[in-house]
Structures are given as structure tokens and as C-alpha cells.
């Protein structure tokens, strides 16, 4: 009633490691306290280099199991692999090009390379996303969130800072006290809500935003008003600065 069904029994190779010689439909792993490093590269199998062993399930999913409760894992997989990772305190690093990525951690940091879709959450760790081609969802309580590029973004943080260097489409950010900086391409609506965090929105030069402010602070904008893109901001006490970026 309270937990996942126990995995089917499987014996690990004596030295750990192991190969599943086919492309997985999905790669899943769970660790209690060890770190997880996944490298996506030009290959067709899954290679566990350190800390665990791979099991191919009936549905084509490859499950990487740790040899000890707190093992650190290092795994290589094909580019474009979908991954699901759960950790308690270990950091998660995804190197290379992945498909849909879901990572949950209590306190570990999360860092990804290029992904199709990201759904990342950690309570206290920081999160970094190099490039998310589709929707990028991130939730953290106290860690900072840094996204270099995203198709769409839905980010929330309590006290951590949020920085998106470039988002092509719609973006929604919610923070309590963390500051927010967004570089928006102006092709989708921008929504930012905060209680006390400062808000900075940069738009391409020449884009004329329709600014809606439902908070209690006056908005400072150096953009010519228009209806090219909706920018909706609300904050109780943080400053709001909307202006053109460097292009």
C-alpha cells in the first residue's frame, strides 16, 4: 500500500557493472545516497561502469540497481534515452543528449546536458539545465535554478534564485524570496509571481510587451508598450524591471 512493489529478484554480477545489449525504452534507477552520473552517447547498449548492474524488464525498460544502498552509479546509454531517476541525497549529472528526463531528489543537486523534456525536482539542491528543447519543469525549495535555454519553462523555487538565459516560448516562474531573471524570446507569454524576490525580464530589442501587474509594486519598464507579448508579473515587495536585452 505504501511503496513500490519489490523488484523481481536478480543477482548482480560479482563485480557489479554489466551490459544490457539493446536500446532501452526507458532507463530507471533509484539510489539512497550515492551520486548518479549518466552519459548519453553514440551507442546502442546500456553499460554500467560503476556501482550497480543493469536488468532488462519485460517492457524494454532497463533498470539499473545499486549493489549497495548508497552506491554511486556511473552508466553509459544511447543518445536520446528517456530516464527516470530518484535519489535521496546524491547529486545527479546527465552528460550528453537525452529524451524525456525525470529526476527527483531530496537534497542532491541536478545537472543536465541537452534534453527533449525535463521534469526535475529537489528540495535543497541546485538545478542546472544546459538546453531543454521542449518543456522544462523544475521545482526546488532552496536551491538555485539555472537554465541556459528552454523551449518552454515552468520553474518554482522558494528561496533559491531563478535564472533563465533564453526561453523561446511560454514561461511561468513562481518564487517566494528568490530573485528571478528571464531572457525571453518574446514568442510566448511571460508570467512571474513572487512574494519578495526581485524580477528582471529581458525581451528582444523592438518587442513591445503588454504588461499586466497584479501585485503591489510598481513595475519599471524601459520597453515601448504594445501587444507583441504578455508579461504578467505579481510581487508583494520585490522590484520589477522589464526592458530590452542585448539582442
Amino acid at each position: 500500500m505504501t511503496s513500490m512493489a519489490p523488484p523481481p529478484p536478480a543477482l548482480p554480477p560479482p563485480s557489479g557493472g554489466g551490459v544490457v545489449s539493446r536500446r532501452p525504452t526507458q532507463l530507471r534507477t533509484t539510489t539512497a545516497s550515492g551520486s548518479v552520473k549518466l552519459t548519453a552517447e553514440d551507442r546502442t547498449d546500456v553499460l554500467v561502469e560503476k556501482g550497480g548492474y543493469a536488468v532488462l524488464l519485460d517492457d524494454g525498460t532497463v533498470e539499473v540497481r545499486t549493489t549497495k544502498r548508497s552506491s554511486s552509479l556511473e552508466v553509459r546509454c544511447p543518445s536520446g534515452t528517456d530516464v527516470v531517476i530518484g535519489t535521496a541525497s546524491g547529486g545527479v549529472e546527465l552528460v550528453g543528449d537525452f529524451g524525456t528526463v525525470s529526476v527527483s531528489s531530496a537534497s542532491g543537486s541536478i545537472r543536465t546536458g541537452r534534453v527533449d523534456v525535463a521534469d526535475l525536482r529537489t528540495v535543497s539542491g541546485k538545478v542546472g539545465v544546459e538546453e531543454c528543447r521542449g518543456r522544462c519543469r523544475v521545482s526546488t525549495k532552496s536551491g538555485t535554478i539555472t537554465v541556459t535555454g528552454a523551449g518552454e519553462a515552468d520553474l518554482s523555487s522558494v528561496s533559491g534564485r531563478v535564472q533563465i538565459e533564453r526561453v523561446d516560448g511560454a514561461v511561468v516562474v513562481r518564487t517566494v524570496s528568490g530573485s528571478t531573471t528571464i531572457g525571453a524570446a518574446g514568442a510566448g507569454p511571460v508570467g512571474v509571481q513572487s512574494i519578495s524576490g526581485s524580477i528582471v525580464v529581458r525581451l528582444p530589442p523592438g518587442v513591445r510587451p503588454s504588461i499586466r501587474s497584479s501585485g503591489r509594486r510598481r513595475v519599471t519598464s524601459t520597453c515601448e508598450p504594445g501587444d507583441d507579448v504578455v508579461v504578467d508579473v505579481a510581487t508583494v515587495s520585490g522590484s520589477v524591471d522589464i526592458g530590452p536585452g542585448s539582442g
Binding site: 500500500m1 535521496a88 531530496a106 525536482r121 508583494v236
Partner: protein, 175 residues
């Protein structure tokens, strides 16, 4: 002297809620506005609780709720979100609640509930972001196809502090 009765075991949906940023809101706006916010939440919660549900206890700005039925718990969670969003539009203030739902067993201790599944539900809400409703696999299994208006996006197996086995979590979202 009568023999002591064993604690009654109940089975249903355990829901934890948490108002995000309440501490900061109180610091910014003062005690009176914070109290008004709590009162608004109380009013909304009382309005969305179906028969068989109750507020087990208040936890500062959060609540522990009990529902006989997991589907009713999810409906009420989204009604609570909508109520708070409406309140936020009227006041112009950011206001979010996050919700964790777990279906399981608990022992009654007076009006309170205790047990492993209560602890699991409390851990789930810790992982929820503002405006999110996160549910355990047990909750999703209990609801099955009774809520066509919702879909469940898997977050994966999550390791939680003090809980020996990973819990498979889902985000409930409107379909």
C-alpha cells in the same frame, strides 16, 4: 476498570497541504493579513470538504485532512487550488498551496491520525512545488479511472527521508 480499547484503524486518503511562502508573507504584510489569509484558506477548505472528510489538525499554515475516498480527496485538492487562485486574483497577491496525497491506513489517536502512511503523505507534500498536487502510486491505484478529468504524470520512484522503500510519485494535472 474497563479494558482499554485498541486504537481504531481507518483506511482512506491522507492529505497534507502547505501554504507556500506563508512565513515570508507574514513578514512582509504583517500578522493581520497573515491571519486573514489563514481564515480564507479555512473558509475555502470547509467549502470543498465532502461528506466523510475532515480537517484532522492544523499545522501552522498547513493542514492534515482525511478523506474516506481518494477520488474525493483529489477533487477537493483541485477545488482548494481553484479557491485560492480566485482569492489571489481578488487580492492581487501571490498565493499558492501545495498538496500531497497518499492512500493508506492510519490509527486514530483521539481526533488525530498516526502511522507510517501518515508519515509518507507528509513526505510527499515536502516534494510538491507551488500549485502542485502530488500523489503516491497507492493513491493513483485507488482512484484508477474514476477521475477522467485528471491525468497522472509520473515523477518516478522517490527516496524519502525515513521511509525505507522508494515511493512512486505522480503529479495529478487536469486532463
Amino acid at each position: 476498570m474497563p479494558a482499554e480499547q485498541p486504537p481504531a484503524e481507518v483506511c482512506g486518503a491522507i492529505v497534507f497541504t502547505d501554504l507556500v511562502g506563508f512565513t515570508e508573507f507574514t513578514a512582509q504584510r504583517g500578522d493581520a493579513e497573515a491571519l486573514a489569509l489563514i481564515a480564507a484558506q479555512d473558509r475555502i477548505v470547509q467549502g470543498v470538504l465532502p461528506a466523510g472528510a475532515r480537517v484532522v489538525k492544523e499545522l501552522g499554515d498547513g493542514l492534515l485532512l482525511w478523506f474516506d475516498d481518494a477520488a474525493e480527496a483529489l477533487r477537493a485538492s483541485f477545488d482548494l487550488h481553484r479557491g485560492l487562485e480566485s482569492e489571489a486574483r481578488q487580492t492581487g497577491l501571490p498565493m499558492w498551496v501545495r498538496v500531497g496525497v497518499h492512500h493508506g491506513h492510519a490509527l486514530r489517536r483521539g481526533e488525530d491520525l498516526v502511522g507510517h502512511d501518515v508519515n509518507v503523505a507528509a513526505r510527499i507534500v515536502d516534494l510538491a512545488g507551488p500549485g502542485e498536487v502530488l500523489v503516491s502510486e497507492a493513491t493513483r491505484a485507488e482512484v484508477r479511472d474514476r477521475l477522467p478529468e485528471l491525468c497522472f504524470e509520473e515523477l518516478g520512484p522517490v527516496v524519502m527521508k525515513g521511509i525505507p522503500q522508494p515511493i512512486r510519485l505522480f503529479r495529478a494535472v487536469p486532463a
